[in-house]
Amino acid sequence: MEHIRTPKVENVHMIDRLTPRKSTAGTLYLSSTHTIFVENSEARKETWVLHSLVYNVERLPTNPSGSPLLIRCKNFHVYRLLIPQEKDCLDVLASLTRLSRPECYGELFCFSFNPNLDKELREKAWGFIDLKAEFSRMGIPSNLWHVTAANHEYRLCETYPSELFVPKSAFPAVIVGSAKFRSRGRLPVLSYFHRDTSASICRSSQPLSGFSARSADDEQMLHAIMKSNPVSELMYVVDTRPKLNAMANRATGKGYENEDHYTNIKLQFVGIENIHVMRSSQQKLVDVGELPAPSMSDFLWGLENSGWLKHIKAVLDAGVFIAKAVAEDGVSVLVHCSDGWDRTAQACSLASVLLDPYYRTIKGLMVLIEKDWVSFGHKFSHRYAHLDGDPKEVSPVMDQFLECVWQLMQQFPCAFEFNERFLIQLHTHIYSCQYGNFIGNCQKERRDLRLQERTHSLWPHLWENRAEYTNPLYRTDHSQTQGVLKPLTTAYCFKFWKGMYGHADKSVASHQSPADCLNAVREESQQLEEELSAHQERLAQLKEKKTSGGRKKTNKLSERVRRPIPIESKLSSPLDYFTATRSEKHSPSFTLPLELAAPPKNGDPDDLSTCSDFESGVADLSSHSSSAGDDTKDHDSDEAVKSNT
């Protein structure tokens, strides 16, 4: 609260860069958690921006019409505001800069976010994802794998979960010895067990091998893993780093496994670049989206130059390699990178998505993220800059995983239960700090923060709204749903993810969504089915009555009213200025004040055409844009605004 200098600024304009006449005037409010822009129009459309989602705030040079302020969000939304008074602009800038960089966990939104759940429900919510149940779904523990108490109280490895699954044949001393020989004690443990072939995916950090060091325990550990797959005499070690990077690590006493020291291992490098390369690549990609009026060549050149899709391919290639080894060759794989919490998490979880249809369901993806990312100590708070900290620790590791899944969805439209919106929602919440799931950097830290008592879990919330995240083309009995996915990784298969990166400007909206339409169709079908069975039931009842005496006419079936698919209404909502003023049927909420819009009525079409986008008679489906999901519009936040004003 003390950081807010000016809680309310009037006559602020929200600028639409591509189509200036779609800009709107309104009032800007700053609360302790959100920036809120309320349009002056009758509909009072609200735009809520969570402070923790703000990536940076930039003030552009003041011009005669006011001081422009640019708010860039971590989910790649960009808001352009024009504030009449320079002083107000400076105040907002200072407040937002501070509010978007919390200095300690206590300042995070999740500790004040209160969706009015009682204590019991909240506790139950945290049990929604159960990793023990997940391992038992895989058939673990089994006669070959069991849980070890070695990391009880995080004695062995601070960043691992307390419960680890290891080969039964690995003695406690071997486990401890292996941990000692691995960077940060992150020893090889089970991540995924593939029932069909008994091959497993294990994960670890790099060995402390340097140029010549070896550890009998670690060698035994790997041997035990190999032996836990009774039919195979071989095991792959996938080092997800480029070979050169791995070799360079030897100079600091780390490195990779020497194939001569370990029995029957085959070492494979897959060449995913490090977090620093990825960070700058993504920045370049985002910059491409912000180009003022790019030509096709500018865009494609920028896309190439960012290298982003090349990195996405590298990550997916790693997943494909591992999945193939496990499913086709029946060979177990140990995956590591340097610390085993970034590239390793990417490769293991992607391989799992390819291998196991369960992870392509809504619940399954939640479980997978909870297992491979949350529990195994992916450093969420560092990577996604939850706190003001070292910018070199920040990197879009999870972004890449989600994008790889999206790229797979493009190739296999029927294979995933969830839709793109689900991935984008996950992405937002990884950054938003609204729920406790992704706070902190490992299980131990989360336990110490008592997150389960003090915050809420995201998963049940997503699960309740799963209808919104369902892919209508998904069918459990579809051929794409079954078995192992074998994606093409030819260069032309990788596309720019417009849904994620394409909204630097709000006018580049997705126009019509076939998925939404199909969902509506599905829903309607279902409703009809239900009605039909209700009617049939009634019919049966009536027949009974009839036999027992009374005779009634039943023509209810024909009274069924066809519920319209809500597409036409979407189509006719006006984003377009002229359509809006011409026809009366449109709600006035979008009609812009005349003095602002500068409509090019008699103007020169040359002017019109300089904007590189034409907007449509079709409404922006995401026009209720709140950048951290709908739940930010709850009463608590509302009150926060009032108390500030």
């Binding site: 190439e304 391919k313 083309l473 339409c517 169709v521 006719s572 008679g617 079709v618």
Partner: protein, 527 residues
């Protein structure tokens, strides 16, 4: 020379056929006057592959020991390999294919021999005529008329016999205007907007030349188009500099002083050879699977194909903006008025006019704006992306149109009644067809060759109910609004259905399409 004289070896046994993503097959290869037939009769079920020789864009032969391999690259982008035992047979087959795939005489082409039992040559040919279009469009009756000034094709050889022009301009004026326009393509009506009566006209460039010649009748004609309203827009599909340069070779542009109520806007569009080369580069980039992502993106960029898509959609958007939003009439032209002009005017209609977004409406639009309007199909589509032949007049303008329509469909998956399948079929038919629809370069040529009397009409056959169904968009929800496509580069994509048609990639998409259909069908059964 009889066609059969080109065939030295008609039959070869034990030929091995290799196709992408299919196991190799052994069978018999036959060459006929118009087809290449491969049949495999191993088991009970026989399997046949019939390829129109005209569909073959290029062949490559290679000798391996005593046998030869022919690689066949088709205009629909399919690539096949045939292993033929016997070098002589191989060479004979290759030379037959080479000769028969590049026939130039229209009446020797297959549509003149195609006689399926379910179609009859009697009955009307085509979907609509200028007169019918005029009759259907009530908006036109007041101020516009159908002129038969070109009934013997002497005023403009590439125009149809009937055109729609302002009522107050008589035929003599039209003749004079035609003399002032390249190829005689004087301004004619292309579209009249249902809501405000504004029109899209199209023509070729005026022949002002270096001396800034004028033509009073041409000026009057355009004046009559806007009829008292303040302003019309001329969208010139060349850069201002190119338009200036055109004067040196006798062409030119409408100057402000002579056409006072018309405002000219220049939009640069590539044409002819440049666009053809783009297609060649794009297809080449798509067929190399070993590219890294960087290399692929760089080749995609370098082909410039998407840039052409971008310009076409942007300019069409500009035309629509003038007509729909500002309420002004528009004249579109480039140089000859037979390629980009048609591309832009027909795209604008799809954006503007709900009637052109139905299957019938779209095919009518193609018939009116491309076939009757004299797009030189035979010249433009003589070769596709693989041919090594020296480029003459080839240009994939029509394919570019289909790509642009696909982009619109992708952005508005509910607004078009037809599906991608229709666009793919057209992309195939335009290069090689059983039907006469895309033969010749103009109505005059089609008349002379007797196309209407001796071939079947593709569009009519596509509209037969049982066939039409496969081209329908299951999600179609008509809208009366203009559908403004986003032309932001990130909104445009490679048309994978076309350019990656013969890859594994297409398989999953096909499954998804089937899934959509089954959901919708299930739903319809319930309703």
């Amino acid at each position: 020379m009889e066609l059969s004289e080109h065939i030295k070896t008609a039959n070869v046994e034990d030929v091995t056929l290799r196709r992408p993503f299919h196991p190799a097959l052994r069978g018999t290869l036959c060459v006929t006057s118009h087809h290449l037939l491969f049949s495999n009769r191993k088991d009970e079920a026989s399997w046949q592959l019939l390829i129109l020789l005209k569909n073959i864009d290029a062949i490559e032969k290679r000798a391996v020991g005593s046998s030869g391999t022919i690689t066949i690259k088709c205009k629909d982008l399919l690539v096949l390999q045939l292993e033929i035992p016997g070098m002589e047979e191989c060479l004979n087959i290759a030379s037959s294919i080479e000769a028969l795939s590049s026939l130039e005489s229209v009446t020797e082409m297959y549509p003149f021999f195609y006689r399926p039992s379910h179609l009859t040559l009697l009955g009307p040919w085509g979907l609509s005529t200028t007169e019918q279009y005029y009759k259907q469009t009530e908006r036109l009756w007041d101020r516009w008329r159908v002129s038969k000034v070109n009934s013997d094709y002497s005023v403009c050889p590439s125009y149809p016999s009937a055109v729609i022009v302002p009522r107050e301009v008589d035929d003599d004026k039209l003749i004079r205007s035609a003399r002032f326009r390249q190829g005689g393509r004087f301004p004619v009506l292309s579209y009249c907007h249902h809501s405000n009566g504004m029109v899209i006209m199209r023509s070729s460039q005026p022949l002002t030349g270096a001396n800034k010649k004028r033509c009073k009748e041409d000026e009057l004609l355009l004046q009559a188009v806007i009829d008292g309203s303040e302003l019309g827009y001329i969208i010139d599909l060349r850069s201002a500099q190119q338009a200036q340069q055109a004067r040196m070779t006798g062409g030119g542009f409408e100057s402000k002083s002579c056409y006072r109520h018309w405002k000219r806007i220049h939009r640069h569009h590539e044409r002819g050879k440049v666009v053809q080369e783009s297609l060649i580069k794009l297809v080449e980039a798509c067929s190399d699977l070993s590219h890294s992502v960087d290399r692929w993106l760089s080749k995609l960029e370098n082909s410039k194909w998407l840039s052409h898509v971008h310009s076409a959609l942007s300019t069409a958007g500009l035309v629509v903006e003038c007509v729909e939003r500002d309420g002004h009439s528009v004249l579109v032209h480039g140089s000859e008025g037979t390629d980009n002009t048609l591309l832009v005017s027909s795209l604008a209609q799809i954006i503007l006019d709900p009637a052109s977004r139905t299957v019938t409406g779209f095919l009518c639009l193609l018939e009116r704006e491309w076939i009757q309007a004299g797009h030189p199909f035979q010249q433009r589509c003589a070769h596709s992306a693989y041919s090594h032949a020296r480029l003459k007049q080839e240009c994939p303008s029509f394919l570019l149109l289909l790509d642009c329509v696909w982009q619109v469909w992708r952005q508005f998956p509910l607004a078009l009644e037809f599906s991608e399948a229709l666009l793919l079929r057209l992309a195939q038919e335009v290069y090689a067809s059983n039907y006469g629809t895309f033969l010749c370069n103009s109505e005059q040529e089609r008349c002379a060759a007797g196309v209407k009397e001796n071939t079947h009409c593709l569009f009519q056959s596509m509209l037969k109910p049982d066939i039409e169904e496969q081209y329908l968009n299951p999600l179609y929800e008509p809208t009366d609004l203009a559908i403004w496509p986003s032309v932001h580069p990130q909104s445009l994509q490679l048309w994978t259905g076309m350019f990656l048609r013969w890859t594994e990639y297409a398989q999953n998409m096909e499954e998804a399409r089937e899934e959509v259909w089954s959901i919708v069908k299930e739903h319809r059964e319930r309703v």
